[in-house]
Amino acid sequence: MIMHQPLRRAFLIAAIYLATSVVLNELRQHQFVSAGTVVRLMGMLMGLVVLVCANAIPKTLVPLARLSCDPAREQTLRRVVGWAGVLGGLGYTLAYALAPIAVAARLANSLLTPAVAVVAGIMAWCVWKRVNARRRET
Protein backbone atom coordinates (compact mmCIF):
# COMPACT_ATOMS: atom_id res chain seq x y z
CA MET A 1 0.00 0.00 0.00
CA ILE A 2 1.44 3.37 -1.04
CA MET A 3 1.23 5.92 1.75
CA HIS A 4 2.53 9.46 1.94
CA GLN A 5 5.54 9.96 4.20
CA PRO A 6 3.83 12.33 6.73
CA LEU A 7 0.83 9.99 6.99
CA ARG A 8 3.09 7.00 7.55
CA ARG A 9 4.99 8.89 10.24
CA ALA A 10 1.73 9.92 11.95
CA PHE A 11 0.55 6.30 12.02
CA LEU A 12 3.93 5.19 13.36
CA ILE A 13 3.81 7.77 16.15
CA ALA A 14 0.23 6.76 17.03
CA ALA A 15 1.29 3.09 17.10
CA ILE A 16 4.25 3.89 19.37
CA TYR A 17 1.96 5.84 21.75
CA LEU A 18 -0.56 2.99 21.90
CA ALA A 19 2.02 0.25 22.27
CA THR A 20 3.92 2.14 24.98
CA SER A 21 0.77 2.91 26.96
CA VAL A 22 -0.42 -0.72 26.74
CA VAL A 23 2.99 -2.06 27.80
CA LEU A 24 3.32 0.44 30.65
CA ASN A 25 -0.23 -0.30 31.83
CA GLU A 26 0.53 -4.02 31.89
CA LEU A 27 3.78 -3.41 33.79
CA ARG A 28 1.93 -1.23 36.32
CA GLN A 29 -0.79 -3.84 36.83
CA HIS A 30 1.87 -6.45 37.57
CA GLN A 31 3.53 -3.89 39.88
CA PHE A 32 6.80 -3.77 37.97
CA VAL A 33 6.58 0.03 37.77
CA SER A 34 4.75 2.61 39.86
CA ALA A 35 1.94 4.83 38.57
CA GLY A 36 4.25 7.84 38.88
CA THR A 37 6.84 6.23 36.62
CA VAL A 38 4.18 5.47 34.01
CA VAL A 39 3.10 9.13 34.00
CA ARG A 40 6.74 10.22 33.77
CA LEU A 41 7.55 7.90 30.86
CA MET A 42 4.44 8.84 28.88
CA GLY A 43 5.18 12.53 29.44
CA MET A 44 8.76 12.06 28.29
CA LEU A 45 7.56 10.18 25.21
CA MET A 46 5.17 13.01 24.30
CA GLY A 47 7.92 15.60 24.75
CA LEU A 48 10.31 13.58 22.61
CA VAL A 49 7.75 13.26 19.82
CA VAL A 50 7.28 17.06 19.84
CA LEU A 51 11.06 17.49 19.80
CA VAL A 52 11.64 15.07 16.92
CA CYS A 53 8.81 16.46 14.79
CA ALA A 54 9.84 20.10 15.40
CA ASN A 55 13.47 19.24 14.64
CA ALA A 56 12.49 18.15 11.12
CA ILE A 57 10.39 21.26 10.32
CA PRO A 58 13.24 23.43 8.89
CA LYS A 59 14.45 20.46 6.82
CA THR A 60 11.09 20.01 5.09
CA LEU A 61 11.24 22.17 1.99
CA VAL A 62 8.23 23.18 -0.05
CA PRO A 63 9.06 23.49 -3.79
CA LEU A 64 9.78 27.12 -4.68
CA ALA A 65 7.09 27.09 -7.37
CA ARG A 66 4.44 26.25 -4.79
CA LEU A 67 5.41 29.01 -2.38
CA SER A 68 3.03 31.94 -2.28
CA CYS A 69 5.29 34.13 -0.12
CA ASP A 70 8.90 35.26 -0.08
CA PRO A 71 11.11 32.09 0.15
CA ALA A 72 13.52 33.82 2.55
CA ARG A 73 10.67 34.70 4.91
CA GLU A 74 9.24 31.19 4.67
CA GLN A 75 12.64 29.75 5.59
CA THR A 76 12.97 32.11 8.58
CA LEU A 77 9.49 31.24 9.82
CA ARG A 78 10.22 27.52 9.53
CA ARG A 79 13.40 27.96 11.55
CA VAL A 80 11.58 29.96 14.26
CA VAL A 81 8.81 27.33 14.45
CA GLY A 82 11.39 24.53 14.54
CA TRP A 83 13.41 26.14 17.33
CA ALA A 84 10.29 26.96 19.36
CA GLY A 85 9.05 23.37 19.02
CA VAL A 86 12.41 21.81 19.89
CA LEU A 87 12.93 24.00 22.95
CA GLY A 88 9.33 23.44 24.08
CA GLY A 89 9.61 19.68 23.55
CA LEU A 90 12.96 19.56 25.33
CA GLY A 91 11.54 21.49 28.28
CA TYR A 92 8.50 19.20 28.39
CA THR A 93 10.69 16.08 28.34
CA LEU A 94 13.09 17.37 30.99
CA ALA A 95 10.23 18.52 33.23
CA TYR A 96 8.72 15.03 33.20
CA ALA A 97 12.14 13.41 33.59
CA LEU A 98 13.53 15.51 36.43
CA ALA A 99 10.83 17.49 38.24
CA PRO A 100 8.94 16.05 41.22
CA ILE A 101 5.90 14.18 39.90
CA ALA A 102 3.50 16.49 41.79
CA VAL A 103 4.57 19.52 39.75
CA ALA A 104 5.90 17.82 36.59
CA ALA A 105 2.70 18.17 34.54
CA ARG A 106 2.21 21.83 35.43
CA LEU A 107 5.85 22.67 34.77
CA ALA A 108 5.90 20.74 31.49
CA ASN A 109 2.75 22.48 30.25
CA SER A 110 4.09 25.89 31.24
CA LEU A 111 7.23 25.18 29.20
CA LEU A 112 5.42 23.85 26.13
CA THR A 113 2.62 26.44 26.05
CA PRO A 114 4.83 29.38 24.91
CA ALA A 115 6.19 27.22 22.08
CA VAL A 116 2.67 26.26 21.00
CA ALA A 117 1.67 29.95 21.19
CA VAL A 118 4.61 30.90 18.93
CA VAL A 119 3.72 28.20 16.39
CA ALA A 120 0.00 29.07 16.46
CA GLY A 121 0.79 32.77 16.14
CA ILE A 122 3.03 32.23 13.11
CA MET A 123 0.47 29.94 11.46
CA ALA A 124 -2.32 32.49 12.05
CA TRP A 125 -0.13 35.25 10.64
CA CYS A 126 0.64 33.17 7.52
CA VAL A 127 -3.05 32.39 6.95
CA TRP A 128 -3.94 36.06 7.42
CA LYS A 129 -1.27 37.12 4.91
CA ARG A 130 -2.45 34.54 2.37
CA VAL A 131 -6.10 35.57 2.72
CA ASN A 132 -5.13 39.23 2.29
CA ALA A 133 -3.05 38.41 -0.81
CA ARG A 134 -5.97 36.51 -2.37
CA ARG A 135 -8.35 39.38 -1.62
CA ARG A 136 -5.99 41.79 -3.35
CA GLU A 137 -5.83 39.48 -6.41
CA THR A 138 -9.63 39.31 -6.80
Binding site: A54, N55, A56, P58, L61, L64, A72, Q75, R79, V86
Partner: protein
Protein backbone atom coordinates in the same frame (compact mmCIF):
# COMPACT_ATOMS: atom_id res chain seq x y z
CA UNK B 1 24.86 32.85 3.31
CA UNK B 2 21.91 30.60 2.72
CA UNK B 3 20.50 31.51 6.13
CA UNK B 4 19.33 34.78 4.58
CA UNK B 5 17.33 32.90 1.95
CA UNK B 6 17.63 30.81 -1.21
CA UNK B 7 20.41 31.80 -3.62
CA UNK B 8 21.24 30.85 -7.17
CA UNK B 9 24.35 28.80 -7.94
CA UNK B 10 25.83 31.75 -9.82
CA UNK B 11 25.32 34.18 -6.95
CA UNK B 12 26.93 31.76 -4.53
CA UNK B 13 29.86 31.11 -6.86
CA UNK B 14 30.43 34.84 -7.30
CA UNK B 15 30.89 35.23 -3.54
CA UNK B 16 33.92 32.92 -3.49
CA UNK B 17 37.21 33.12 -5.31
CA UNK B 18 37.01 29.60 -6.72
CA UNK B 19 35.96 28.26 -10.07
CA UNK B 20 32.38 27.27 -10.79
CA UNK B 21 33.18 23.56 -11.24
CA UNK B 22 34.87 23.57 -7.81
CA UNK B 23 31.82 25.26 -6.30
CA UNK B 24 29.62 22.73 -8.06
CA UNK B 25 31.59 19.91 -6.43
CA UNK B 26 31.14 21.55 -3.02
CA UNK B 27 27.40 21.93 -3.66
CA UNK B 28 27.19 18.26 -4.63
CA UNK B 29 28.79 17.25 -1.32
CA UNK B 30 26.40 19.46 0.67
CA UNK B 31 23.39 18.16 -1.27
CA UNK B 32 24.55 14.57 -0.67
CA UNK B 33 24.86 15.36 3.04
CA UNK B 34 21.29 16.70 2.92
CA UNK B 35 22.38 20.06 4.31
CA UNK B 36 21.24 22.10 1.33
CA UNK B 37 18.49 21.52 -1.21
CA UNK B 38 18.88 22.18 -4.93
CA UNK B 39 15.96 23.09 -7.14
CA UNK B 40 15.93 23.99 -10.82
CA UNK B 41 14.16 27.25 -11.53
CA UNK B 42 14.23 27.90 -15.26
CA UNK B 43 17.88 27.87 -16.29
CA UNK B 44 19.29 28.50 -12.84
CA UNK B 45 19.70 26.17 -9.89
CA UNK B 46 18.48 27.59 -6.61
CA UNK B 47 20.08 26.36 -3.40
CA UNK B 48 18.27 26.43 -0.08
CA UNK B 49 19.41 25.69 3.44
CA UNK B 50 18.13 22.31 4.61
CA UNK B 51 19.34 21.99 8.18
CA UNK B 52 17.36 20.56 11.05
CA UNK B 53 17.36 22.39 14.38
CA UNK B 54 19.80 19.85 15.81
CA UNK B 55 22.22 20.27 12.89
CA UNK B 56 22.02 24.04 13.24
CA UNK B 57 22.61 23.82 16.99
CA UNK B 58 25.61 21.54 16.47
CA UNK B 59 27.08 23.95 13.96
CA UNK B 60 26.50 26.81 16.42
CA UNK B 61 28.28 24.86 19.17
CA UNK B 62 31.17 24.01 16.86
CA UNK B 63 31.60 27.67 15.94
CA UNK B 64 31.26 28.79 19.56
CA UNK B 65 33.96 26.40 20.71
CA UNK B 66 36.39 27.42 17.98
CA UNK B 67 36.01 24.51 15.61
CA UNK B 68 36.40 25.99 12.16
CA UNK B 69 33.22 24.75 10.49
CA UNK B 70 32.81 27.64 8.08
CA UNK B 71 36.03 29.48 7.22
CA UNK B 72 36.02 33.24 7.77
CA UNK B 73 37.71 33.85 4.45
CA UNK B 74 37.05 31.92 1.26
CA UNK B 75 39.55 29.14 0.70
CA UNK B 76 42.39 29.77 -1.69
CA UNK B 77 41.78 27.99 -4.96
CA UNK B 78 43.89 25.01 -5.84
CA UNK B 79 46.30 25.36 -8.78
CA UNK B 80 44.39 25.17 -12.02
CA UNK B 81 41.08 25.96 -10.33
CA UNK B 82 41.07 29.74 -10.47
CA UNK B 83 37.91 31.58 -11.35
CA UNK B 84 39.21 32.77 -14.68
CA UNK B 85 39.84 29.24 -15.90
CA UNK B 86 36.29 27.93 -15.42
Amino acid sequence: MLRAGPMSAGALADAFDVSKPTMSAHFAVLVAADLIGAEKSGRTIMYRLKMSVLEEALMGFAQAFGLQVTPETPTTPAPGQTKGKS
